[in-house]
């Protein structure tokens, strides 16, 4: 299994940290290039996640054993 992708929120948080570090003029070029590469990869992942997520509206239920289940919720119903 591929490593779990970061959530959008976590990715944005990391991207902001990357930008902060790159904005620091004392960051050496090698480090900046490394950060840049990571940043571009994160942006690409995020863009992909925005295209691939499935829209979903579910009815959340819990049975007598305490198990949660998600039933599709019919918008027209």
């Amino acid at each position: 299994m591929p490593p779990k992708k970061k959530t959008f929120a976590k990715s944005i948080e990391r991207l902001e940290a990357i930008i902060d570090e790159m904005e620091n003029v004392d960051t050496p070029l090698e480090e900046a290039l490394k950060l840049y590469k990571e940043g571009v990869e994160l942006v690409t992942d995020c863009q992909k996640s925005l295209n691939s997520a499935e829209k979903e509206i579910v009815l959340l239920q819990q049975n007598s054993d305490g198990i949660f289940s998600e039933k599709p919720f019919n918008l027209e119903g």
């Binding site: 944005i12 990357i18 790159m22 840049y36 942006v43 925005l50 959340l60 819990q62 949660f68 998600e70």
Partner: protein, 399 residues
Amino acid sequence: MNRKVFKVSEINRYIKSLLEEDVILQNLFVEGEISNFKHHSSGHMYFTLKDKYAAIQCVMFKTYAMELAFEPENGMKVVAWGRASLYEKTGQYQLYLEYLEPAGKGALYLAFEQIKERLLKEGLFDASRKKEIPAYPKTIAIITSPTGAAIWDLISVSQRRNPLVKLALWPVLVQGPMAAGEIADAIDKVNAWGKADVIIVGRGGGSLEDLWAFNEEKVARAIYHSKTPVISAVGHETDFTIADFVADHRAPTPSAAAEIAVPELAKMTGDLLDINKRLNRLIKDNLARNREMLLRLSSKRVMQRPLELVYQRQIYLTGLQKQIDTEINNRLEKNKLLINGLSRALESVSPLHILEKGYALIYDEGGSLIKKAKGLCKGQEITVRFHDGAIKSEVKESV
């Protein structure tokens, strides 16, 4: 005549059994005004419910009294739920109540203020306790009535802004005596489910009575204990409920709640593009900065004429050497002068120097210096030494 004589206790027990067999009397709602209210140290409450024409004794035992969302007061109008029975000891018939709710606007407002003040003191509204609403939730749980307008507002606004956000609906009653329990339970359950990033709990507009469930302590405590951030969305802009004060964020309406919780997809895409642009600009800036630094360094004299430094050092060395020579010569000269001075001083104290002034030294034949006339005899040969030479002479006579 055969009389059947009853004991007092038998009568009371019989009447009590009659009351307790009556279906209506065992499950009734009564509206009335509270008077003679006494909250006994045992925790039980005793009071009279009355209207214009009549009054009934009432008891509310500790277990139920503790559950009350408000503290009853004399003059307060309430709706009570309970059963009628008889207190055998005194023959007093009374209502055994299990639930009380304030009735009418005045009582509701009073109760509202009471709850608000109590929970405020307890710290349930503390700003420091409020959790941040996540900027990009993946899943939002919605706790509201499945039939009201609120749920459709929430769904449609959410879908319009960002169809990728998952909505998990948990239908509850939002009105009536059961509502508060269901809402509180739903909040706990969604927390147990653990997959929601935000909870929206609310309902559409209504009267103060309609919204009452959202003023109940149960709901307030469930919101307070929720690990998932809670947005309250009750009624209209002007409606404030206890739930609003406890929630991590108050939305004025259900639609507004969806606008607060659901990030616009277009904005997210835009944000990503912005970030991408910033990354590109920053790396370009960094490269430019480094190139400039390289240029600046290579344009320095030392890089352009590397021997310059060597020449400079040589000149410096030569200068030093000259300085050392001069210094040594100076010292030699100084010493020479010193020696000359000293030899002159020496000369000035030399006996020869005295002879120059006209003195002479006299020696005997053995070469010993003669310092006295006495002891010299006639005919003795002496040597007289002048500064420029010596002569031999003879003693003629003493004078």
